[in-house]
Amino acid sequence: MENTNKKEVRLMKGNEALAEAAIRAGLHAYFGYPITPQSEILEYFEEQAPKRGFTVLQAESEVASINMIYGAAGAGARVMTSSSSPGVSLMQEGISYIATAELPCLIVNITRGGPGLGTIQPSQGDYFQSVKGGGHGDYKLFVLAPSSVQEMADFVFDAFRVSEKYRIPALILADGALGQMMEKLTLPEEGSLPHVTPEWGTTGKTKDRERNIITSLHIQPEKMEAINHHLQAKYKAIEEAEVRYEEYFMEDAEIVFVAFGLSARICQKAVDIVREKGIKAGLIRPITLFPFPKQIISETANRAVGFMVVEMNAGQMVEDVQLAVNGKCPVYFKGRMGGMIPTPEEIAVALEEKFIHHEEKV
């Protein structure tokens, strides 16, 4: 901790890298509640807060912490919370309010296997909850899916930047493995993300302005519809400007994996395995889950033999891939559930079964 201002290479857990990055991104306040497998984030903040001058509070529940986020973000501060699947479910009402009141903030979901209390092992079962709203009403979050400890840190900066630019809550959707595993990373530079207290924040009504009101309530349907149009226009602007994805061996790919987060990393290895057998496979990794990189998938579908979507769930993002492919070629799915992680080998086998041996069988 000698000099936090210079770039430094460290070996860290994903959860701790994310927390350290948030401090370097100029976090003002963190509110959270313990839940496995993300408790290190709260612990790291509690340990660092007195030394580095930010606010941290262990709330009585996830319901309380998301509403503390509402209050603090409404007061113009740069704030975040984190939890894991069941806890994020508890936050959904508050997230809907935050999205409607257009408060920037960062929510981190270190996903575990569900449904129900499920397991503490990693999962991607919260994709729908993250990108399709999750709570009530029509709203979106800016959703980033890291696939390494380096990205657990880097994406915090991107999340705050986009969140504050568009006044939209950002969500980092990682899984328990990314939170728990240790990797080498270069820590982002402190102070590289300036914060300006927004003029809409409830910081005290000065004489030179009207009172600021943070609300998600517009009882007249005409007004509420106008608010909805405004939100939808914002989401469209984000879809046009903030899509991020990564390609792996896509130059000549005929068979295309689509996977995010940890699954994408495993699929890279699966691409290597089948490439050695002469199968021209590649990978598109959505980095932003909303906005979803549908254009590259749609364009790729014009020339691809087919797609295989790999997720650690029962098949969620595959629906968005199908929408983007729009019937131009087959879309297959390979998933593991309940906290199980697929191996590169079983993914390679699944691909060969669908695209290579399948034709022989027919």
Binding site: V63, A64, N67, M68, G71, I213
Partner: protein
């Protein structure tokens, strides 16, 4: 017609700067209007309009920001004290208050209420207790009296089935984080004066960073109670006060007074 001009008169009563010109949407005779006004008068007189942030959650007073000319946040049902905590933690130099009804503070938000006070958040919590859910049309509240007829207790509140009225103010007065706890009313000018004094003390205490100030206001709901405004004031005195007696419950520097055992 010539309008007579009154000169050399002293202004003895006027609308505080901290209230907007928007007419209250509250039902005739409802205590919210008086409670709003007194609260805003105190902020006006203390000169802290620029330093005060209010939070009003779901309930009849969810539109408090239409009337209170200060920075305000509307909070989710039950979560006003959590939102207020968030505000106060990032703006510790400001005055922060929540303005919550009985359903909000003592039913759905009980956990937030208890833990906010237990942490001794340096905020003021104003608790409007009218023993009914006003906004949703007169359903039973946690503070509804035994035998009280509401739209969800059509045969009267039966404590054997649904429990006794929750005296949450006495409950939270037990917590070390509570600094000043009192119960007041707005049914008479005298009661309003006492409430105003307590609100003023609560804001002054907030600067001391000694803990949560909590003021319950026993109020009425003529529409929900199906009574005229005047009848409702009488009903307060005859039915509410025996269960919710007025006065200080916890005062700085003094040992906690025993919660009233009357009519328990």
């Amino acid at each position: 017609m010539e309008i007579p001009v009154l000169e050399n008169l002293e202004v003895v009563y006027k609308k505080p700067e901290t209230l907007t010109d928007t007419p209250f949407h509250y039902c005739p005779g409802c205590g919210h209007g008086v409670a709003h006004r007194v609260l805003m008068e105190v902020i006006d007189e203390l000169g802290i309009q620029e330093e005060t942030i209010g939070v009003a959650p779901v309930g009849c007073s969810v539109f408090a920001y239409h009337y209170m000319n200060i920075d305000m946040q509307q909070a989710a049902h039950g979560r006003a004290s959590a939102a207020a905590t968030g505000i106060k933690r990032v703006l510790p130099e400001k005055y922060v208050f929540s303005y919550q009804g009985d359903g909000d503070l003592a039913a759905i938000g009980t956990a937030e209420t208890i833990h906010t006070v237990n942490r001794g958040e340096n905020i003021l919590m104003v608790f409007i207790n009218n023993a009914i859910y006003g906004m949703t049309g007169g359903q039973m509240a946690p503070t509804s009296l035994c035998g009280q007829v509401t739209s969800t207790t059509p045969y009267g509140r039966d404590p054997a089935k649904i429990g006794f009225p929750l005296k949450i103010t006495e409950l939270i007065a037990q917590l070390p984080g509570a600094y000043f706890v009192a119960r007041h009313a707005v049914h008479t000018p005298n009661a309003v004066r006492k409430l105003k004094k307590a609100l003023r003390s609560a804001f002054e205490y907030q600067k001391l960073n000694k803990g949560t100030c909590f003021i319950e206001i026993v109020s009425n709901c003529p529409s929900g109670w199906k009574l005229s405004p005047l009848e409702s004031q009488k009903w307060i005195e005859e039915n509410m006060f025996p269960m919710y007696p007025l006065g200080d419950i916890k005062v700085p520097g003094k040992n906690i007074t025993a919660p009233s055992t009357e009519n328990n």
